[in-house]
Symmetry: C2
Subunit: 315 residues, 2 copies
């Protein structure tokens, strides 16, 4: 059995885990961090966490690599965080070099990639994507993240920005998106935009049990489950726009499967996935329409497992 | 110097050419054909044409391969035409086997791919795409074709339908497209749809020198050149929708360059390309927005040159 270490780097904590080559998370830990610490301090914390995980395995030589998943634009080949919304001010931080320096004599190959790419990689190897070659992944959270796997490798594009599936245009005159464009998928399916659209519908006088002052996607999903028509409509629309984006994506990339994760995907089959599939099947041509659309399986572990899988997925 | 033979298979004729490895078309010929002849008869004609081209080169051993570009859904790995709008009734035709049988003792590797994939390959190696790794190509004609090159190879997707860039959705409630969907790029930028939109504008009473009874994209382009406002508006809109599609494509694939060919691309910089670029730059995020957007260079030779390049581009 071989092992690898996965690190899920966030703005408030660092998760770490030890993954066996058959996909079991043998050990996991979380340490708090703070963006104000600066990159070198965070790299030191990552190194300490690695050493802690490392101490859990008896035979050091069996750890074949360490992978880090990080939000932002990651230059995977050179181990650099070019930019990350979660670490304001970071610009071209050679994070892997910093971590390697802190690891001292512990010489294990280090890898890094974008957190959504890593999620798709995790699902590919140990989740909903097992056995597939070409896979796209969406994460529905505050933003809508995306990742592309081609021939079982993460596809980075020419300048490491491939897979921004949340910025597929679904309505050219739609709402303003955080990226500056109008009508991106994220402008319909990102948490903030779901809440905003719900508020607009409430303000227009539609009947609903929802309170516009305290609104989260989770509350909207619960109201929809309880039969609230307005809330159901919001999820149906969200699903419809995801279906529109997946049509473009399937026509462009012709993947076998789209895996959808993130908090909002938790709304599930009836509220969300059936609407995604209906819209997709209605719009997509014969052969590419055979793409499967499924929920992610690994949940909160996808980041850890995927990061650890970077060790097996040499670019 | 090495040579390869390219075949550009169409519904009414077969073009063939001899390409040198430095990208020169040394010889070319055209023979007429007719879809009613059936696949085996057409394969025989292709073989005869190959033998004719072959007789033009002195040293047979220098011909490293023969490539065929064909419209339709091509199973490149197995040499099969799964389906082609230009050859009604053809279903899973093993064209390369038929051609090989007709070539008898002449044993040269045969390759086949979709005509737009082949066009992008030609541009990559000897046209507007020289030096690039990840390239997308659009052909603006009756339909809007697309092709994707990743790491200098044609990308086929899971079921050989990748690169249907003309079926990127640019307006979810837009006009009906030939594929059954609404608001595909093709429903705005395909020749028939350009003409249809022009007729609608004329019918609504907009002032123009155009005659609704005899309308082609070429006439619309000439009128636009001559200052006709309605005709200029049609091309500006067409450019705008191409820009919308390229935004989605750049966010998904992050290629370095988009190469646009086909008859309608002949409208050129002022009528078309500036509008494509303006819309694209306005909508696309920082790094992927650096994608170049350029006209194809090889014109009518792209099909021949690209097909011949299949010999160098083993899947």
């Amino acid at each position: 059995m071989q092992y690898s270490i996965g690190i899920d780097l966030g703005g408030t904590d660092i998760k770490a885990g030890l993954l066996s080559s058959d996909g079991k998370l043998m050990y996991r830990t979380v340490v708090s961090t703070h963006v104000n610490e600066g990159a070198k301090a965070i790299a030191k914390r990552i190194a300490q966490t690695i050493l802690q995980v490392h101490s859990q395995t008896q035979s050091l030589k069996d750890i074949i690599g360490i992978g880090v998943g990080s939000p932002g634009l990651i230059l995977a080949d050179s181990g650099i965080i070019h930019f990350s919304p979660n670490f304001p001010g970071w610009s071209d931080i050679p994070l892997l070099d910093y971590v390697a320096a802190e690891l001292g004599n512990l010489k294990i190959p280090l890898y890094i990639d974008n957190d959504v790419n890593v999620m798709v990689l995790g699902e590919l190897h140990h989740g909903a994507g097992i056995g597939y070659e070409n896979v796209v992944g969406l994460t529905l959270g505050t933003g809508v993240g995306g990742g592309i796997v081609i021939n079982r490798k993460v596809y980075h594009g020419s300048w490491n920005t491939a897979g921004e599936l949340g910025h597929t245009i679904v309505q050219p005159n739609g709402p303003k998106c955080g990226c500056g464009n109008r009508g991106c998928l994220e402008a319909y399916a990102g948490a903030r935009h779901i809440v905003q659209r719900t508020r607009q519908k409430l303000a227009s006088g539609q009947n609903s049990c929802l309170n516009p002052d305290v609104l989260t996607p989770k509350q909207i999903a619960e109201a929809a489950e309880a039969g609230d028509k307005l809330a159901q409509e919001i999820f149906a629309e969200t699903g419809k726009y995801i279906g529109v984006a997946l049509t473009s994506i399937a026509h462009i990339l012709n993947p076998e499967i789209a895996i959808i994760g993130g908090g909002i995907a938790g709304a599930g089959e009836k509220l969300l996935f059936q609407h995604i599939r209906n819209e997709f099947r209605k719009r997509t041509m014969g052969i590419p329409s055979q793409m499967e659309i499924v929920p992610a399986k690994l949940g909160n572990d996808a980041g850890l497992i995927g990061a650890a899988m970077l060790a097996y997925n040499i670019h």
